[in-house]
Amino acid sequence: MNVNKNKTIIAALLSTSLLIPALSGCSSNSEKTNGGEKSPETSKKFKENDVKAISSSLKTSLNSFTKALNKEDNENIKKTAKNLNTEWLALENNIRESHPLLYTEIEKYLLPLYAGASQDNPDKATLKSLASSLDESLTKLSNAKEAEESNSATLNQAVEQYKKYVNEEASKLVISTQGFTDAVKAKDIQKAKALYAESRAHYERIEPIAESFGDLDPKIDAREGDVDPSEWGGFHRIEKALWNNESLGAMIPVADQLNKDVLSLQEKVKAVQLRPTEVVAGAMELINEAAVSKITGEEERYSRIDLMDLGANVEGSQEIYKNILPALNEKDKELAAKLDAKFKELTQTLNSHKKNGQYVLYTELTQEQIRELSQKLGVLSELMGQTAKILQ
């Protein structure tokens, strides 16, 4: 599809969906097509049909992009991605208000797609996978109902409280990482090892939030093999050097970069707009993170402090559980009680793997102990999945 036709569709959409309500709201500036100034009343008038039209128009643009991608036409890849992004910028605010979860989902794929396509030699496999995920999200948008989630007072309060926690952890992460990297630069191995564990805990407690900033998580938390070796930095790069007795001199630039990245993470965390759906999903993600990549001992492959990461994931999830408890009690008291009991059980089991207040190394666990933790995480995860009841 050519650019002009694309523009026509956007214009048509804007005139039918946005401008009419905007005009009725006494806005006379018909040239201003950015939806950012719309009032909440306007967005309520934003009907399912309009969402369908937006979805379909975005899909058409995405289709042009995919075609260019298949032809490996770099020039057109850039151009069509830009069109797609421009179109999205004009429409995104409506979706953000009416369908916050899908908004986040679309952004999650579209932003890296646009960034990736703008490069001179774009990574086509990644772009293809992003395009396909984006297409799925747009299909969901096309089928979405008008009111996606409730915003009851208890829920908003839960989000506010949780935001406070996330900010606290982010700031502790910054402080402990500063100490950690100072020790690395001073080549104080013992101190560095001790502070490594502490910094990791703060990161793991808020991992889903950190992960939502696509570019930062790989910089801070990539494991060996997750990224190109020439780009590999962050915690685990230094972990390898520390536990493999590599020279720490080479780690100085890595340490400096890590400091910058956690600072930038803290800034983003401060600014982030959290929604109840994201918070509830985050509790689940944390447990799944523990159940999938921590319990297998693949996260901390040199320091072997995997149990500490796992414990931090569980603590982060439990924090969300505590914050949504009032809302959960309104919907399903039995579920709240079960979750409470299962968190206690898991915490007890985790505590039984501590010596002098520290978790034992992953390598000291028996197969049976790992299996027991895995089974308990599974039970918790299944129950946690049900907490989305509070969103109706």
Binding site: L101, V280, K338, G378, V379, E382, L383, G385, A388, K389
Partner: protein, 413 residues
């Protein structure tokens, strides 16, 4: 792919089915398309059965389904351990399983729908658009259900059925954890592997926190209509089985006796042995040696000295240590419902990891099964090519009636 269809062309569906069988992956690599075609011919055409929308087996009845049911093509058998000490939790689980079992039997998915899209779907979804494929779900209880490490967790030890015990150690046993026993067993069979898997998966999911999985075994079998299926050694397996429709035979061999607790009325005992089969050494032994091992003709299935598969066996004509003679000499009957299995390869030897998931149902395992197992463990020539690596016995409660749940008389009586 071209639109020209060759007559012996393998459909994707049959190919998928065939790839459930060991070695097909290698066969494709080694000899190309023809090998797969040949394999699909061996498999017969069970896929036509499950196209019918009427392919359902009643879940409710005097006996649990999946015993006197014509054997379906695929099975998943799993053992669970209970995580709770509370009888009420077990009752809740059995109620859930009973209603889910019924729903699965008629091709319905879990009926509770999630109240909003942020919740995980209640059903896992892979049975959507498929027919019930004659799915059956059979529940059994192990001796540890009644008494675990000397503890009577649910106050039911006094109602343990007469013949339920862990299978005693046998000569040559090479049992491997976790494939030994279990508090509960579920056998899910269907003519479609995906349907069978979907059944077990959703039953497992609904047991979350109350029962945890101990082991899972999948199996397959292909029996041309009315004919005895063959095992992976290429011999007919189960020639001596009674016809499931023969009620008097089933009463004599399978269904529990009147001296059992009332919840066992219409029930049975299930014996399970996971038997690894050394396919490579078998395949390298001579036809004569193979036939001597079974005491039967490989092609026809007829016992030595006879012309047809079902001719009566004259034990004196069979080698003393042949499988058929050793088994027949016990003078006992079992009702067999075995499945073959393949599990990739043994990394240390490069041999195929495959065998037989032996399952038999019987009225009295003390008389029918254990003496036979003991004798075969001691003298069966087949032991040169096999290894028993898993073992379990379960009491099968009587059938579930509409409005009731599994083992209700045991848990409430």
């Amino acid at each position: 792919m071209s639109s020209e269809v060759k007559p012996n062309k393998v459909s994707r569906r049959n190919l998928l089915k065939a790839s459930a069988i060991a070695g097909v992956g290698m066969a494709i690599g080694a000899s190309g398309f023809g090998a797969v075609t040949a394999m699909s011919d061996v498999l017969g055409k069970p896929s036509n059965k499950d196209k019918s929308s009427k392919s359902t087996i009643p879940f409710y009845g005097e006996h649990q389904a999946g015993i006197a049911t014509p054997q379906q093509g695929f099975a998943y058998i799993a053992a669970f351990n209970l995580l709770t000490d509370q009888k009420q939790e077990v009752i809740k689980l059995f109620k859930n399983w009973s209603s889910l079992g019924y729903a699965l039997s008629i091709g319905q998915v879990n009926k509770e729908t999630a109240s909003n899209d942020f919740l995980p779907p209640t059903d896992t979804g892979e049975s959507e658009d498929l027919s019930p494929s004659n799915i059956t779900i059979t529940f059994g209880l192990g001796s540890s259900f009644f008494l675990k490490d000397g503890r009577d967790r649910y106050g039911i030890a006094s109602k343990k059925p007469k013949h339920l015990q862990d299978i005693p150690a046998m000569p040559r046993d090479a049992l491997k954890d976790p494939f030994i026993g279990g508090d509960i067993c579920i056998q899910v069979c269907a003519d479609d592997q995906q349907i069978a898997f979907h059944g077990l998966r959703n039953l497992m999911k609904s047991a979350n926190g109350i029962a945890e999985i101990k082991w899972i075994q999948s199996g397959f079998l292909s029996s041309p209509d009315g004919k005895t299926p063959r095992n992976l050694f290429g011999f007919k397996d189960g020639t001596a089985n009674a016809q499931p429709r023969d009620e008097s035979a089933m009463n004599r061999i399978v269904w529990a006796g009147a001296d059992e607790p009332d919840w066992m009325t219409g029930g049975s005992y299930m014996a399970v042995r996971k038997i690894q089969m050394m396919l490579e050494s078998w395949d390298r032994s001579s036809l004569k040696s193979q036939e001597d091992t079974f005491g039967r003709n490989k092609k026809t299935g007829a016992a030595y000295g006879k012309a047809k598969e079902h001719d009566s066996v004259d034990l004196n004509q069979l080698p003393r240590d042949s499988h058929t003679r050793a088994a027949k000499e016990t003078g006992q009957e079992l009702f067999r419902r075995a499945y073959s299995y393949t599990e990739g390869m043994e990394p240390t030897t490069g041999n195929i990891n495959a065998g037989l998931m032996f399952i038999s149902y019987q009225k009295d395992p003390d008389t029918q099964f254990l003496p036979m197992l003991k004798k075969l463990s001691q003298m069966d020539r087949l032991n040169e090519y096999t290894k028993h690596i898993g073992s379990a016995m379960f009491a099968i409660p009587g059938g579930i009636r509409k409005g009731e749940y599994l083992a209700q008389n045991l848990l409430e009586g």
